[in-house]
Each structure stands twice: as C-alpha cells, then as structure tokens.
C-alpha cells in the first residue's frame, strides 16, 4: 500500500443473517467465521482492500434490525456510524426479506450518511419467483442499489465501484421521512433547541436527534445529560407522549417501505412447498421438534465417538511407538522419562482425541451452516422462557459445546442484564470440547461399546444442570421474567464441504494450539512434580507417591475421600483448572509413570481405586466443577464483578461434589 494512496472507510451494516460477514470476507479476503446463528457478529471487525488505486478500510458492524438502542449491538453500530462517520455505509439487505430489511434503510437514510445498498442473496429471492426492479429501487430511495450473492462473490466489484463513486460525491443531505403534521411540528421545535448546542449539532444531525428524543431513546438521553440544553429538552419532552409518537413513527416508516415495495417488487406465486418449507414444517413441529433435535445431536455424538475411534487408535499407536523408542534410545534416563512419560505421554493423550474433536466441530459446523441450529433455538424458546432464560440464551449455550469462552462473550447480544447474567453463570455447564477427551478416555476404558451413550448422557446432564440452575437463579438471586424475544430463521442452505471444513479448522486449531502451549507447559510442570519430592529428585524408578504431585493430591483427600477419588485423580483435577484437557494429560503422566509396558487404559483398569462408578463420578465432576482459567477470566470480564465470578467458581465446585457424592451413594446402594 503506497503512502500517498487515497483512503476511504466503509462500514457494513445490516440485519443479522443477511450474509454481512460473508460479504466482508468477499471484499477483504479475510478468513472470518461465517455462520447462520443470529448475532454472530458481536465485535467490530476490520479488514482492508485496495481497489482501483484506493485503499478501502472495511468495518463489519454488528447485525442489527434497527438503530434504536434496545441492545448493545445497536448502540455499537449506531455510535460508529454517527460518531466515526465512515465515508460510505454499505447496507447489506436480504433480497428475500425486503420489507423487514428496509426498515434499517429508512433509519440509515435519516442519519444522513452516504448509503449503498448491497441487495444480497438475490438468487434465493429469484428462485422463489420474486422480481426486484433494482433501478427503480435506487431511484425511489435515492441510493445506489447493487445485486450481490456474497457466497459466490457475485456483484462485489460492482458494489465497490458504486462505493467509490458515492465516496467521491460532495456533501450529502439526509433523506427525510414525513411523520405527519403534529410530529413534524414537534421535530422542528426540538431541532431549534438542539441547534443551540453547536458542539452537539456538529456531531449529530439535529433532525435525527430530535426523532430519537421523540422515540424516548434512553441512550441518546444519556448522551445529552452533559449538554447545556438538557434542561430545555427535559422541559419540552415532559409534555410529550413519546410512547404514542414512537408507534406512529414506526408505522410511518413502514408506510414508506410499503409504498416503495409496491413499485419495485413483484412477488412470485408460491404454489408448491419448497424444500426449506418442508424441512421447517417438520423440524419446527410443536411435538416432533425437540425429539428431532435430540436425535440429531445423538447422531453427531455417535459419529464423534465411534467413527473417529480407529483414527484415534492410529494416533495412539504412533505415540506409543514414539514413546517406546525414546525410552530405549534417549540418555540420560531422566530425559527419557521427561520426553517419553512426560511430554509424549501427556500431550500424546491429548492429541489422540484430535479426530473426535475435529469431527464434532465439523458436524456442529454443518448443523450451523445449514441453518438448523437457528431452528433449534426457535423450538427451544418456549422451554427456555419457562425455565427463566431468554430465547437468545440458547445460542450462547449451544456455542458452549465448542468453547465456553466465546460462548460467554456471545451473551452480549442479550439486552436484559439479568437474562445475560444467568446465561453467563450457567454457560460453563455446557460441556465444552476440552472436556470431551476426559469423557472419551474414561468412558472408552470403563464403558466399552456403550461409551457413546454414556457421553451423550453426560452432555444431556450438563444441559439439565444448566436448565435447573437457571431456574434456581431466576427464583432466588435474580428474580423477574425474561424479556420478550424476536427470532429470525435464516433460509436453509446446503453447507459446502469447504466452508464446514474451514469452520472446523478455525475452532479445532485452537485445540492444537492449546496442546502446543498451555498443555505442553502444564505437562512439563506435572512431570517435574511427579519426578521431584521433598527428598529431591526421586527418579523414574521410585514410587511417585512420594512426589510433590502426590502431596498436592493428598492435600485434597479429606474432601474427595467420600467420593472415592485417590490422590492421582485429585492432582489431575487440580491441574484441570488450567485447561480441562490437562486432566487427561495429567492422568497420562501420573499413570504412565508406573509402568513402561502398560498402556494408560491398562493402568486405569488395573487401579483398584478406579471402577465404572468412580469414572462416572469423575466425568460428572469434570463436567460441573470450576470452568477453566480462561472461562473464569471471561466471566469476570463480562460480568465485571468479582462477586459473581467467585460465585460461579464456588457454585460449580459445591455442585460437582454434591453430584459426585450422590452418584457414589446411589451406585453403592445399587451395588
């Protein structure tokens, strides 16, 4: 990029699920997550593209339905457009759902910014038989309109041409929507008051500010608290029924939209059920929707465990051979032990589960990219509401199956603070991918061919605990009713192998990265703790029950003895706080130290402290006890409260102990 090159800044705005992120990728070439989940674009993303000698900075704004201030996403998008003043706002519009999408257009027009409409997914609209007159639309709205299909990069160059043309134009005047005589009179009076504050009216268009005040926009009112005209505004608004005015304004905007649509859109006749209609009719059926969701998830878990098994075994055997070679050929003995038992034993046991993890992520990507997960959220909404959770909570909870950290961050789309807090607190109970290796190891060793069923029920238990905890929090700590929920169902799409594989890689590589960094470091620390004790280096020949690792594990024995856990399990659980996979690598090091010939499976089966019952307790304990350190940090960041972070940790620990104890007692009674 040359220093003297002309630069412009554009912002991508639009409703959720209109292909905004896909268009962002198509323009910038950036690899970014593209999905169907509503509210996936939580944070601002920036990319660059040099086009026809101009450097274009592209900012991907959060998906919003309007520019009111009902959610954090809307405020972020609006503030960026108003305060940062990008050269052009590209409004990405879903061509198959024009009426709802154009509502945001009317608001962008009122803001006075330069807008170019990207009429995206025109293929879907045309397949349905809709005919859109693009030229007429551009003429009526006085905004350039370009047909695009972001997924195949169709129309991107034409769009950029229009963007450059628009950016090069002079001063832009805002478009006005007439709200009727009475409201217009109020707007003019308010504009006159606002213009008294020059600083304010230089940043915000006075008419837009007046409209927002009449809509009783809390965020704008907050911003005006420091203005010298705040008293005048307060006095004026005291005599205005803002609630009624807001309703009239919404109606007027839709009147404009419908008038335009009448001229530019000819809807196709729909005589036959489309495939999307058919799938929706079945998958959102009142009675069949939830059982179908359950069997779809079951299918995913069955494949994750059973189909990936031979590939995991292959990796396991390779690491076994490598460890044997190191033990036989590396000198001195302590180095062979560090490399063979510590690093290969520890990291190897984590990497063995790479096929399972990648396959699970791949299957979740297919479900997400096809548009099914949004339907799952829709069918779960009623249940979510009845247990005191907001419908929007389902998406972050589902994301928790991948990793709790982004899932906790995704709760930002939930407007109500109580709803959001409850979702954050119960999120760690959704079993993340890092816990899967623990289940795979223990269920594989102690439950054989029923392992997939056991793992499925562990996941289901996590959901149940999350649901019951949410209900408990709603009834006690955070009383009230969840806010109402508007859900959008994106069209079904056949996921491509490339996109799903890319998503799988984006999520799965974090697992590999963790194995090479945190887990590697933790494994070395665990090896040191097993190789050294109060008497110094105890060596690989000595009893590791004299090591520091044993001291750590024994320190927790008074607490875990009623559960039947031994010091090795305790040590693994302590280190599991760093990352849940470390539980597996710890067991690999701790049990691997005992014998060079035996596999971890043999060692675990031989240990008299281990049994199917104890392994089940351990799996449940890992599911429920403290989330990993990164998740705790995310909870602190998102709640901004040490009290709630501490509560989350303590609640998880106490509940994990109680559940494991309950299983221990019940299992004991059943023999």
């Amino acid at each position: 990029v040359k220093k003297d090159m002309k630069k412009i800044r554009i912002a991508l705005a639009g409703n959720p699920n209109v292909g905004k992120s896909t268009l962002f990728n198509a323009i910038t070439g950036a690899r970014q997550h593209v999905g169907n989940w509503p509210g996936v674009t939580v944070e601002k993303k920036v990319g660059r593209r040099v086009y026809k000698g101009v450097e274009i900075e592209v900012v991907d704004l959060p998906g919003t339905y309007s520019l009111t201030a009902y959610s954090l996403d809307e405020i972020v998008a609006r503030d960026y457009i108003v305060e940062e003043k990008p050269d052009v706002v590209v409004h990405v519009v879903d061509a198959s759902n024009l009426e709802r999408n154009l509502y945001l257009t009317t608001q962008l027009m009122e803001l006075g910014c330069k807008v170019v409409i990207a009429l995206n997914m025109v293929d879907l609209a045309e397949k349905r038989g809709d005919k859109i007159h693009v030229e007429k639309m551009a003429e009526f709205l006085e905004i350039p309109v370009v047909k695009t299909i972001a997924s195949i990069e169709y129309g991107v160059k034409t769009l950029l041409d229009e963007v450059l043309k628009e950016a090069g134009k002079g001063i832009h005047h805002e478009h006005e929507i007439g709200y009727g005589k009475e409201i217009e009179k109020l707007i003019v009076q308010l504009e006159n008051i606002i213009r008294k504050d020059k600083k304010l009216s230089n940043v915000y268009p006075p008419r837009w500010l007046a409209v927002k005040l009449l809509e009783n926009d809390e965020n704008i009112k907050e911003k005006l608290k420091r203005s010298k005209i705040k008293k005048d505004l307060k006095r004026f608004l005291a005599g205005v029924d803002t609630e009624e005015i807001e309703t009239v304004m919404v109606d007027k905007r839709y009147e404009v939209i419908n008038a335009v649509l009448h001229q530019v859109l000819k809807r196709g006749e729909r005589t036959q059920l489309t495939i999307s209609d058919m799938i929706d009719r079945v998958f959102t059926n009142k009675y069949l929707g939830i059982p179908l969701f359950l069997i779809m998830m079951w299918g995913a878990f069955e494949l994750t465990f059973t189909f990936a098994l031979p590939f995991s075994d292959l990796i396991d055997k390779s690491f076994g051979l490598l460890a044997d070679w190191i033990r036989e050929n590396v000198e001195p003995a302590w180095l062979a032990s560090l490399l063979g038992d510590g690093i290969i034993g520890g990291i190897g046991f984590v990497l063995v589960f790479v096929p399972n993890i990648f396959l699970l992520f791949f299957l979740l990507s297919i479900l997400e990219d096809s548009g099914y997960l949004a339907r799952a959220a829709f069918i779960m909404d009623k249940i979510m509401y009845s247990i005191g959770l907001h419908g929007k909570s389902f998406i972050p909870l589902l994301m928790g199956f991948g990793c709790n950290v982004p899932a906790i961050m995704a709760t930002r789309t939930i407007e109500d603070e109580k709803d959001r807090l409850i979702t954050i607190l119960v999120n760690p109970f959704m079993s993340c991918g890092a816990r899967l290796p623990v289940y795979l190891l223990l269920a594989g060793v102690f439950f054989g061919k029923d392992a997939a069923t056991v793992i499925f029920f562990i996941y289901a238990l996590g959901i149940l605990i999350a649901v019951l905890s949410a209900k408990l929090f709603r009834l006690t700590l955070l009383p009230g009713k969840p806010a109402p929920f508007i859900m959008e169902l994106p069209p079904y799409r056949l996921p491509t192998l490339r996109t799903s594989a890319l998503h799988m890689w984006e999520r799965g590589r974090l697992y590999l990265k963790k194995a090479g960094t945190i887990i590697f470091a933790a494994t070395v620390v665990i090896w040191i703790l097993t190789a050294f004790g109060s008497q110094g280096y105890i060596g690989e020949e000595s009893d590791i029950s004299e090591s520091y690792a044993a001291d750590i594990g024994r320190a927790f024995e008074p607490v875990t003895a009623p559960l039947g856990f031994n010091w090795k399990m305790n040590t693994a659980l302590v280190f599991g706080f760093v990352a849940k996979e470390v539980v597996v690598s710890s067991l690999g090091v701790l049990y691997g130290s005992e014998s060079e010939e035996e596999t971890l499976t043999d060692s675990l089966q031989k240990d008299k402290d281990f049994s199917p019952l104890v392994s089940l307790e351990l799996m449940v304990f890992v599911l429920v006890y403290v989330p990993c350190v990164a998740a705790v940090a995310a909870i602190y960041k998102e709640t901004n409260s040490f009290k709630w972070t501490l509560f989350s940790v303590v609640y998880g620990l106490v509940l994990a102990w109680l559940l494991a104890f309950l299983i221990h007692i019940t299992g004991g009674l059943l023999g």
Binding site: Y154, V156, L288, K317, F456
Partner: protein, 151 residues
C-alpha cells in the same frame, strides 16, 4: 389428492409402522428380555426409530386428512432415514477398519453382521422411495447458484 400423494401416504403408513415396530423390538432387546438377530441392545436407538417412525406417521395422518403439506413429513422422513443409515454405514466402516486393518483387541470377534442395526438397513426402503420420487427431491434451491459478475 394426486395419485403420487396417495402413494406417498401409503408409503408413510407402511414405513412409519415398520420403524415403530422395530423400535419396540429394540426396546425389548435393550431391556435384556430377548435377543434378536440384527437388533442391538441400544436404548438411544429406540428413540431414533420411534422419532423417524413418528415423522412418517404424521405425514400419513395429514395426507389422509387431505392436508397437502403433509407430504413434507414423508420427504423429511425419507431424508432422516437415509441420514441415519449413512451414519451407521460410516460406523460399520470404522468397525471394519478397527478389525481388519488396525487389529484392535476390542474388536477381536467383530464381524460385519455386528454392525447391522435397524437404522442402517431400514434406510434401504427410503432409498427405494428416493429413487422412485427422485424428481421431488431437488436440493437446488439450497445451493447458491453460480453466475458471472456482469451477467
């Protein structure tokens, strides 16, 4: 009602009934009351069979009442049935890999017949239906079309 929809209605009734019957049989096997060839003791599989059966029977019921949209349940039922058949073919393949290539001890006495289960072989009926009504199963609307920038 068209002749084709009448055929789909009868197919829904027949295959729905078969799935439910196999579901009951698998439930009995899972409870350990009896052993039946090619029906494993897998309790979750019972749920899968019942749900797929219920989808087909819902289609039959709606079409029988003259609700044309009921055909959606027959089509989606066929897709679900094929999906689960495909899942268990993959699992069968994994079992074969463990037994014949990796020689895993846990799969010492495993044969192809051990991998047979209702979700897998009942899919054959749906495959026949898919072949017969293949023109009704176009997925083109779900695939973004290819076109050039300036067409």
């Amino acid at each position: 009602m068209t002749r084709k929809n009448k055929e789909k209605e009868m197919f829904g009734l027949m295959i729905g009934f078969i799935y439910i019957v196999f579901g009951f049989l698998q439930a009995v096997v899972s409870m350990g009351m009896v052993t039946i060839l090619f029906i494993p003791a897998k309790p979750v599989g019972v749920l899968v069979l019942f749900v797929i059966g219920a989808v087909f029977l819902t289609g039959y019921r709606e079409l029988n009442k003259g609700i044309r949209e009921g055909v959606a349940y027959i089509h989606v039922g066929i897709m679900l049935s094929l999906l689960f058949s495909f899942i268990y073919i993959l699992i069968l393949f994994a079992g074969a890999l463990e037994t014949y290539i990796l020689k895993n001890e846990d799969f010492e006495n495993w044969t192809i017949l051990d991998g047979m289960r209702p979700e897998l072989y009942l899919g054959l009926l749906s495959l026949l239906a898919l072949f017969k009504w293949r023109k009704d199963f176009s997925l083109s609307e779900l695939i973004p079309e290819r076109r050039k920038e300036n067409d």
